[in-house]
Point group: C3
Chain length 363, copies 3
């Protein structure tokens, strides 16, 4: 897990300066960096804190004078944030999961494990499950009946994957991610008050109290390549067809995806976002933390929604949205500002009424 400055720069497509044979053991913030650390100071605002630490080498902003900063060597990358991806991949010490099938794991004899698959302590691989070559199934994971995982999956502890779920290559599951629960779909024998409200936008009608009968999920979940699902996120099965997540899409922690939801490619769904049943989300969509998406609506490609935004109706491609209910971000900000000035506006109108009605009664 050690690399020379030169090796790191080469791997990142970055330039190395000075004593490029210094060996780096880890990355550190400038102020707390030791002599064998690579200090990360990709912005001039970190220049001062470099001198607080003991780094001999730093990754610096474009144009930095590394010698004037008292360093022995430096790496300068053209797009520092992107270089962080390569750097952190090189220096990641991982979780220390052992190779091989742990003796306490239960692997059904009718499961198929590809070459080099490792299975952690107390994990369960069910009948008919197929695990792609090189996959790591972490401790206490559960892989259900006839579920399929592509090559190179990496599952942290306690991930569970239900029956018939299919997942592409290089899947990452964070601790406690849950895929393939039954959808939340219930129906009453007679039309319910919810159905009345949806039709009338508020009037419950005279529906009687009734009990709920479950609609089972016959579909499962279908996930593309290069998808990641965060801690505690929950993905429901579809009712007739599968719930779908496209290639390259990443879900943060505690995301809820209802039944029949379809998300496209390369979308980012941040922490605690909830997507209600049968919503369709396009490609390259970014939903910030705690967003909500109404059931059965359509969110177009490239839509970006700020934190806490509740998308209540269809959103055309390319829009930037904010608020509850969501509007385009600039209109929402204009609305917030107007709301702040509202008490003064009310005083103005009161004054106007006093003058106008007075002057009017004068005439």
């Amino acid at each position: 897990m050690t690399h020379t400055v030169e090796q790191i720069a080469m791997a990142l497509g970055a330039q190395a300066f000075g004593a490029i044979d210094i060996v780096i053991t880890r990355a550190a913030e400038p102020a707390s960096a030791g002599p064998d650390d690579l200090a990360l100071a990709m912005n001039p605002k970190y220049a001062d804190s470099l001198s607080e630490g003991h780094a001999r080498v730093a990754m610096l902003w474009d144009g930095a004078d590394w010698e004037a900063l008292g360093l022995e060597a430096a790496i300068i990358a053209p797009r520092p944030r992107y270089a962080m991806a390569g750097l952190t991949r090189m220096l990641d010490a991982g979780q220390g999961f052992a190779a091989g099938i742990h003796p306490t794991a239960f692997v059904d004899p009718e499961a198929e494990l590809g070459e080099g698959v490792s299975v952690g302590p107390l994990a369960v691989i069910s009948k008919g499950a197929k695990i792609g070559a090189g996959s790591v199934i972490g401790p206490q994971c559960f892989i259900g009946w006839n579920a399929t995982l592509g090559e190179g999956a990496y599952l942290r502890e306690a991930v569970s994957i239900g029956a018939r779920v299919t997942i592409g290559a290089r899947f990452i599951g964070q601790p406690g991610a849950r895929i393939g629960g039954d959808g939340f779909s219930f129906v009453t024998a007679e039309p319910s008050n919810v159905e009345s409200v949806r039709k009338t936008l508020g009037d419950q009608g005279d529906a009687k109290a009734q009990d709920w009968t479950r609609i089972h999920s016959l579909g499962s979940v279908s996930i593309g390549d290069d998808v990641e699902i965060g801690m505690g996120s929950t993905i429901d099965c579809g009712t007739i067809r599968d719930t779908v997540i496209g290639d390259g899409t990443k879900l943060d922690n505690q995301v809820h995806m209802g039944h029949n939801v379809v998300i496209g490619r390369n979308s980012l769904i941040c922490g605690q976002v909830g997507i209600a049943g049968s919503a369709t989300i396009g490609d390259n969509v970014v939903l910030a933390g705690q967003c909500g998406v109404n059931d059965n609506i359509f969110v177009g490609d490239g839509v970006i929604a700020g934190g806490g935004t509740k998308l209540m109706s269809n959103v055309p491609a390319g829009r930037t949205m904010l608020g509850y209910p969501a509007t385009q971000m600039d209109k929402q900000v204009e609305g917030y500002k107007a709301l702040r000035r509202l008490p003064r506006l009310m005083r103005d109108v009161t004054e106007l009424k006093r003058i106008v009605f007075k002057s009017n009664s004068d005439t």
Copy 2:
């Protein structure tokens, strides 16, 4: 898992037409249905997609001309959405959990298992736990000390149930549902700034920084018959008495129920709803996704709240609510509309001021 068209129609209380002895293996959407599938086209808008697929049999809307649609057989149900419940129950292939006690499960010798109970791999049943006849305890589940589950429970993988929790018949627990954590209840030795804020609606007073002492939960959780709890939902124990969920109530994924909460019968609590401590929710209430319920408030029977609604104070029975803070839905929608027109209103008032003050100074 195969049924004839006639068998399906009979089970659903629906009418069958044409070649009612065709054998169905699964349900499918019209466009992707194969010759042995039952295409689901219960709305005329799906008529066209039937011809894209290869279905010979479909479930159709009332009044549909199945022969004109090129089908060999058809099922027509009086309330198609309700028929879906019966149909999906018939065709659900399930999770493939094996019968019996898996050899890797740990069942305490002092636990009592009813007839026909199955326990999955690496599940734990603690001392004094009682599991009703016919129940399925999934892989890696945990049933705590003296917990009681009624007949016919169905627990998916990784469900956990704490000590002394009591649950009625036919309970369904989705993966990772958590019941019986300790309530979130802390107190400071001297009155805290939170207590000041609650009294004054904003003024923190001069309370000092203090640390928090835990109030333990002596109560547990009491759940009625026919309840379902979704993936990753968390139900806290009560402080002195139990937290309560009434018969027939269903919780979606990632629902949070604080200590002492009481929910009545046949309520639907959708994804990511949070119900703070000691709130009381009535019967037949529907809280859509991401709703919040304040602590210690009362939500009456039949209340329906739209997505993201934050109920901050008591809600009388029968109300339809929306917004943050919640108001009745029609008022909230009126408020949204007014907010949109606010910038124009401000320009109008500015213009009025200009004219009035000018004309006023003219006189």
Copy 3:
């Protein structure tokens, strides 16, 4: 688990009256209390319900006339809510976890367990993990590689702690708490449309659709003494340094803490709060249920935020906040009231325009 009235009063620093040798088996609400229960009636409003139950002993409000209430003994504590902490600790029957290492647990030979540590069924303790003396590791817990837990930890079932996480003394983990997932941090090779939106507050620019490359978390999570984490809460690792939770801070259920977040001492973070990456939260902060904290912002000491508040920008110390977007609580309440009156205001302005423009055209 039984105590005399005298013993309880002494433990609480409270006064005991009457037959102080009566033995108490549990606490109960006044109306349901039996003859061996301690009825909790610390507020005069519970006086009537005492007579509905069969309590001989009650904990009463200051100044209560216990004899007139028909009791044989009474406890009166100066701050009843604080006394609840001591009382519930005394009477808590716990989860019944057995002492010792359960034979079905997997403890790596290179893990270090302090004196008196218990490990529940099917728990995993990984290589290099250190568990402090007297700790209870519940059933199906997972302790990762080189993770450290201080003395007296109490982990309920299914808690997971990732590699290199360090936790202080007396930690409490509720069922399914997850610590140490990888942070949600992704970058595109070229600047993305999200970066454009952040710069321009809404304009996505002409960024192309791109795929996301992961930035690994090299840091871990560092947690102080006396911290509690609720059911289903998820704490991400930091990117370069650790994510931090200070001494005495308590997290409720389903809280999400992103990478690099720092929370100070003695803060209370309630259910379903989400704190985005690199936010800094001070000491003695209280965030009520479903609050959100934007990434990279600062929330000062003693800030209190009401339920559902979304903190979008820095908050100075001592503020009481509410709303989305958050403002000071009194301004938010003023804004809500103004919004309610807005439809009437609009009618007023329409009337003013009619009169003014008419009277204006008259001149």
